[in-house]
């Protein structure tokens, strides 16, 4: 693996070989691959499901103006969902690593307890952060609940941090030194983006405008739920979530407001999940 795109192509091939459908990245701002419809809706029902995809993930408050070699406000995840979780999922995962050219016998690979929780989408799971020589390269989770609903059969989610993993593979200490392809570096693609978005996230985003948009999107989500248009309603929830993150990085949310806004989003998402499951059961 000499570049991020080699790694992506490898993971696509590998997980397609395990029966995964390769989804395109979702076209809205999200904080993690877990939040896109290809995961969120598909873990709720009882049908088997296997999917793999790259998802750009935005965390506005993690911006460092392009000056920190590890932290960025937008990174890329490779997300895999297997439902029901296969009995040999750990072996499949280990094979995916050795296939990248990592000889695990020369390293220290650890599954360290880390129980994932996402309050805004009413989801939690049990699992690990996978550490390779102390570096967190993957989040590995057996979903127990999503949208406030118990997930059964149980899906397993594997989320690779692509930049972290590629830094490990290329032996680089600075994210901007990574090769995206043979000719294009991460610096070429993302340094300017990190600088400008950090400035936007921390100093320029229009707080009043964001607050207004948040109010509009929550109303939109509710009215769409009422008309049983659950996929568009969920998109509105995702927009709320990103608006919330932006307001947060602007330092414009007091502690009480934070609790209230999270509850608001969560409440909408739970309605979407309930109605979706109820619809699936009656059809």
């Amino acid at each position: 693996m000499n570049s991020v795109q080699d790694l992506i192509m490898y993971l696509n091939r590998y997980w397609a070989g395990q029966g995964c459908y390769l989804a395109p990245s979702y076209d809205l701002e999200v904080g993690a691959g877990t939040m896109t419809p290809d995961t969120f809706f598909r873990v709720l029902d009882q049908r088997p499901w296997r999917v793999g995809y790259v998802q750009p993930s935005r965390r506005p408050a993690d911006g460092r103006y392009g000056e920190n070699p590890n932290r960025v406000q937008k990174h890329h995840q490779y997300q895999v969902i297997m439902k029901p979780s296969p009995d040999n999922i750990q072996e499949l995962y280990l094979k995916s690593l050795t296939g990248m050219g990592i000889d695990l016998r020369e390293h220290d690979l650890r599954f360290d307890e880390d129980n994932w929780e996402a309050p805004t989408i009413g989801a939690w799971g049990v699992g690990w952060q996978v550490l390779l020589d102390g570096l967190e390269i993957t989040q590995f989770t057996y979903f127990q609940q999503a949208g406030g609903i118990e997930t059964f059969p149980v899906p397993v989610e594997i989320t690779y941090g692509l930049e972290r993993l590629e830094m490990f593979l290329e032996g680089k200490d600075d994210i901007y030194d990574l090769q995206w392809s043979a000719d294009v570096t991460y610096r070429d693609l993302h340094l300017r983006e990190e600088k400008e978005f950090s400035e936007y996230n921390f100093n320029q985003a229009n707080v009043k405008g964001l607050q207004k948009s948040f109010a509009i999107q929550t109303r939109e989500a509710q009215s769409l739920i009422d008309r049983d248009l659950l996929l568009p309603a969920y998109d509105a929830c995702l927009k709320c979530s990103h608006l919330f993150n932006l307001l947060d990085s602007r330092g414009a949310i007091s502690v009480t407001e934070r609790v209230k806004m999270i509850a608001q989003i969560r409440d909408l998402v739970i309605q979407v999940a309930r109605n979706y499951v109820a619809g699936e059961e009656s059809s």
Binding site: R110, E113, V154, D173, S254
Partner: protein
Amino acid sequence: MEFVLEILTEEMPPGHVAEGLSQLEAGLASELKSNNLVNARGESGKIHTYGSCRRLIVHCELAARQQDREELVTGPPRGAAYTPEGEPTQAALGFARSRGVDAAALEVVRTDRGEYVAIRKVVEGKPAREILARILPGLISRLSFPKMMKWGERNFRFSRPIKNIFCLCDGKVLPFETAGIRSTGYTFGHPIFAPRRIKAGSFREYRDELRRNKVIIDQNARKSRIEKQMQKKLEPFGAACYPDEQLLKKLSMDVEYPYVILGTFPDSYLKLPLEVLSTAMKKGQNLFSVVKGRKQMPMFMGVADACDDSRSLVRKGNERVLKARLEDARFFWEQDIQVSLKKRAAELSRVIFQEKLGTYEDKSERLRKIAAYLAGRLEAREEKKWVMEAAGLCKVDLVTEMVREFPSLQGVAGGLYARKEGLPSSVWKAVYEHYQPVTLEDASPSSLTGAILSVSDKLDSVVGSLGLGVEVSGSRDPFGLRRNAQGACTVILQKKLSFSFPRLLDKVISVYEDKLSVPREDLKAVCLEFFRGRMQYIFERQGFRYDLVNAVLDPGLGNLYHAYLRVKALDGFKDSPHFEPMILIAKRVNNILKEQPAYKVNSDLLIEKEERELHTSFEIIRANVQPLIASGDFAKAQRIVFRIRSTTNSFFDNVLVMDKDVKLRRNRLALLQAVSRLLDQIADYSQIVVQG
């Protein structure tokens, strides 16, 4: 006969392994006992447990079968079983036939309902294999863990997914099924170094084969291997690993084949405070600090699940990750010291302490008042000013970058910043130490200002929550009130802080003004009851007998440090020959006073000689012990109080308390009440159990 069970799973948290092993051991022991699978002496063999994050292992020696047991089967009553001549009747013959024995084998037994004929039958014990196969599925599925999960399509919960169950009984596979998994006669080696199937026909073979396949099953063996390797690696530097038993225990469960790595980081990071360095190493990366004497070395130690690190990839990888973390920590440190704590304090108005109890700014303001009051009560004139300053600053680190990144540094980080700003040691130490002690084993603050602030902070939290009607019961303690209350008590006892606890409660309740919903007097009672429970827990953990503890706590919480001195005085005297007579008298006094309203002594009404003598000796003793009680010398006070025995005895022998004359009766009761009140200042002796 040998029994071996191994449950192979995906990686469990260390706490789950310990929990699983202890439940397996206790569960198996009780099943063996209730199923009579014991040896001739009526004992079952010692159960050994081993484990790692991937395995729960049980090994023991068992009887091959249950012991045979005799059973008595009763038939018809004696009267119906024999004719007057002693011949068996049809009923008796029929009973014998139905059980397949000769009538001669019948005997007569006595029961609660009269005499009956009966036969004795020997029930043959069942083979252990049969019984184990029946009990194991339930035993495994009943294991419970702090957090449980489902996986795949199984309707079954466990700590982590089960991969295999290996079970051997008398050298052969013991077949059973649980969670849809059939037990086998094989297990698997280390998932990376020896991911192969391993067969075994005995525990020894199982253990040795796994050892060859890079799994050391014994957690203690892994732990000492880690310690030995650490020592060996550090010897050339004359350095030592900074001890962290908790981390060591976690790591010896986390790996099956430990290999210790020694890495370095650039000297320039040594400018960061020790506490920040060690937290950055420990949290998330599980690394140990290395020290030489009291000096931090630019080194760390880690434990890998590996055979070796011949190409140093593990070491270099960890160094790279640590360097990035230390770089972050330095960035936070340098950012944070740009703004003084005092200036930053304004930001606390944006941080909620508890929804209805206001912000951390409100809390800081309350802490200033409580700490000032407590410093006053303790006559800590010099410290008062410093502790008030510290109270205003102690929560400010909650809004620093450092604590946001490493929450476990709260308090410590604030203290370090205060020291960096050049604040006096009484101030920065108070901030630094005000969360201590976190557990009962932790040390209390070393400074008096730290102790005062620690007690104030914990009381503010406990009173606030109880004042909103929060209830603590069993496993429900959402705000950690027990831990906080215990912490406050521990500091008071260890630092010998002598003051009236109920009056401190009054103060804390009053600084909350109208924020609390529970009425003042009710709240005080609830708090006193709650703290009484904590004091009892602490005293009993210290090994004091429960009845001595009750004798000290039942008369009511006053000065907590004195409560400790009192229970110590009782404990020191419990083997004295004078102890029991004193208890008996106290019991007699209390019995007669039961459900009597309080009366006042009128010395003019003391007409009998013995009551006058009791009154006189009471007054002398009281005058003598009051100063001793005030100064906390309870051992001496107790010795003097015991002198009231003889006059009390002759009083009881010669004076009728329940006299017909109401005035005399009440006066005598009043006298006994005064005696009882005096005793209560040391202990309610009537609570103490007389050792038979």
